[in-house]
Amino acid sequence: MVRVQSQPLDPWAEIAAHERRHQQWVGTFGATAVFIGSLRDFNQGQVVAEMSLEHYPGMTEKHLEKVIREASDRWEILEPLVIHRYGRLVPADPIVLVAVWSAHRDVAFRACRYIIDELKTRAPFWKHEQTATGRRWVIPE
């Protein structure tokens, strides 16, 4: 499941809700791997006061769904959960959540890592930081 939202993200509540929505999974998975990305108050040498996250509505969801399909073709996993924020964020706010359920530990780790790596390098989001010296677009790592 993919969701792109401007509302605050509570990752642990979202994961628990996803598991409740999939009662039929009970007992079928032995491994859950989760990644949460959140906003640090310091980046590329500057204190970050707040951030505004722009995205390309429509393309973002299409891209994330494609990445999930690729991961599901490659590994035996249950339906992953991917949620990404956009809009205004302050430090410590969760930005992205990726959760993957599988029978096996190695598969869960690999698929989770694949999804977040693909998301980071390709999903159409742009971070705009407010620092002490002004606003700036974040440069890719």
């Binding site: 390309y56 999903a123 440069i139």
Partner: protein
């Protein structure tokens, strides 16, 4: 529908001072033609392109009714 919808994001949006534009499809064969029309510039390496919401190269064909977007390298996650 003899137009192409063009969208701009982030630094590209700011630099061109526009979010969206409808252009006449006549004279447009590929994404680079769209870029030259909307920016008045040659294609730049740091500008990425999507055609109909999928990544494409600057020489990707563009047809009437297509949506073309230009943006800088992404920084999500």
């Amino acid at each position: 529908m003899n137009t192409i919808s063009v969208r701009f994001f982030a630094g590209v949006r700011e630099r061109l001072g526009k979010e969206q534009e409808l252009i006449d499809a006549r004279g447009i064969a590929c994404a680079a033609d769209v870029w030259r029309r909307v920016s008045g510039d040659a294609p730049a390496a740091q500008v990425l392109v999507a055609v109909n919401q999928e990544y494409a190269l600057m020489d990707h064909p563009v047809h009437p009714g297509d949506e073309v977007a230009f943006f800088p390298p992404v920084t999500g996650g």
